[in-house]
Symmetry: C2
Subunit: 342 residues, 2 copies
Amino acid sequence: MTKGASARVVTLYDVATRAGVSPMTVSRVMAGGKNVRQEKVDRVLAAVTELGYRRNENARSIRPGQRTGLVGVVITNVANPYYAELQLGVEEVLGTERFRLLVGNSNEDLGKEQQLVADFIGRKVDGLIVVPATDASAGHLGPDAVGATPVVLASRSVGDLDLDTVLIDDVTGARDGTRHLIEQGHRRIAYLGSVASASTNRRRLDGYTRAHHDAGLDVDPALIRTGQQRPDQARQAMHELLQLPSPPTAVFSGNNRNTVGVIRALHEAGADAKIPSTQGKDAIPVVCFDNFELSDLMPIPLTIIQHDPRDLGRHAGRLLLDRLQGDTAPARRLQLPTRLLT
Amino acid sequence: MTKGASARVVTLYDVATRAGVSPMTVSRVMAGGKNVRQEKVDRVLAAVTELGYRRNENARSIRPGQRTGLVGVVITNVANPYYAELQLGVEEVLGTERFRLLVGNSNEDLGKEQQLVADFIGRKVDGLIVVPATDASAGHLGPDAVGATPVVLASRSVGDLDLDTVLIDDVTGARDGTRHLIEQGHRRIAYLGSVASASTNRRRLDGYTRAHHDAGLDVDPALIRTGQQRPDQARQAMHELLQLPSPPTAVFSGNNRNTVGVIRALHEAGADAKIPSTQGKDAIPVVCFDNFELSDLMPIPLTIIQHDPRDLGRHAGRLLLDRLQGDTAPARRLQLPTRLLT
DNA sequence: CTGTTAGCGCTTTCAA
DNA sequence: TTGAAAGCGCTAACAG
């Protein structure tokens, strides 16, 4: 039996002594046992279990040319199911290749993101997958900062950086969703979105605007509210929109956080009979980006711009794997499709 | 300016050469600059920025007595908001102390969990926070396997292991919730839970049973369905329960995954008019463990056994921090309160 | 197939 | 306050 929580941690040398071979033989066995006589392999493996030996991955990885098997994942907030799914997708692809995930939440804070990236680089991650908090001043993701470590951007892009990127096709999604409302005859469609500097928000707002232009309509800036990061902020914003002299007759919600707030506000207003109704043909229809669990049972009519965040994570993982396998092609830019769910 | 994605990675020695000091002085500066003349500190710091030097944390941590600053977090599934919140709580507490999280999802699979733990140990994490997939055969968490690495169990306990543990007060929560239904006159209350071997499920089933006994009632085994891990399985189970010759008049759902399925099944049955109604005084009331976003807007009357998974994560993080600061007191066992949300 | 030597990047002595 | 030497646990490169 093993010694348990005893004195010193077992090293390669302990195993070598126990098995009566050289440290190098143990090293070879641990690396896969190629070019070692079977008898010795067995002896070493026996010693390994007896002593409870575990190779020190950190010591191994300081040798030049050796990988850490670590990938840094910087997301904004796992509590948002969108990013939780993304994380899961990344793990699904990278875990199969025996990579482990170092995960950090930036909370949409550029400073925190920079810290995380710097720290991950110091830990010699083999690659990084980042959902950038903001669009600008992303020096911390440039080659000066990360060296040769491959970086994949997920969900959002960064303006001046030529990096592998996986995005949702935000523009098309938002355009389709908005057109859907316009086709129903709506002319005053509110837009609620997250931080103005996030590329997702900009792209979705772009799609919203284009759909208007496509139909020969103008956008009323009074109906556009961005910067809501939490549902309560969106709820507040939606209430304010309803107070306008000429309130919106339909709503476009730019992400799942805003959607929650919008639903609450409309539901409350409906209960107070402040607006025509939340049901029936007078209801204010809502089109929202991101699907969510039980969305179909909401008391408000929702049209969802659906997409697959887990798949986005998988794609990001795969792009990174390609780089780790030596792919030096120019940066690739993927756009994942959306689907309108009525 | 720095050289960017150039040849070799900058080391301590490069900085030393550039600053005209010994490597040791650089090391001291990087460690906080105590006992180094200010002038040299400045020279070193200048060289550091010029060269873009980052200390190699892995190399540093192989020296005996040095920490890696890494904590392994093994959860079952981040896509479940319960565990996403837990992860966030852990990061909140540990991140402040400059620890980083190595996160892995076991997907309720003991083998995967063992792999992750073994791997994390090999990476010399300073501690582990684990949501154990199952209750039994947890040798991989015992001292023989993890050595002196402190382990904190979160959300679920493991029978024979005397480890720091943070749990929800499942028994009381389930008991209160079930009593609530009994007090409304219900005598046939269905129970839907996750894997039978998970301690949470066992404790919640225990609370359910106790509430019955408290009221002098017997539990009908035909109304108890465990093993549903996904909403569709729970939905199926709920539909089957409704087909019973003597179907339940109320439902206890043991976690948020089952709740989703229960809601769907009841909603469908209500729409088909297979059951009296989903609304009004004939409705089948549902009590469910775990709150979720927009639960109050569901088309089914829900009573929620609420608790705070993020706080659970925080507590787990704090217990671990205590151990990392040398606390050798006997294992502590925390139980976090629940609140019935009607 | 196996072992020896050297050294990865860093920090703990210990001496100056 | 500073530096030189030694070595953490591991593996590439080279013998044998």
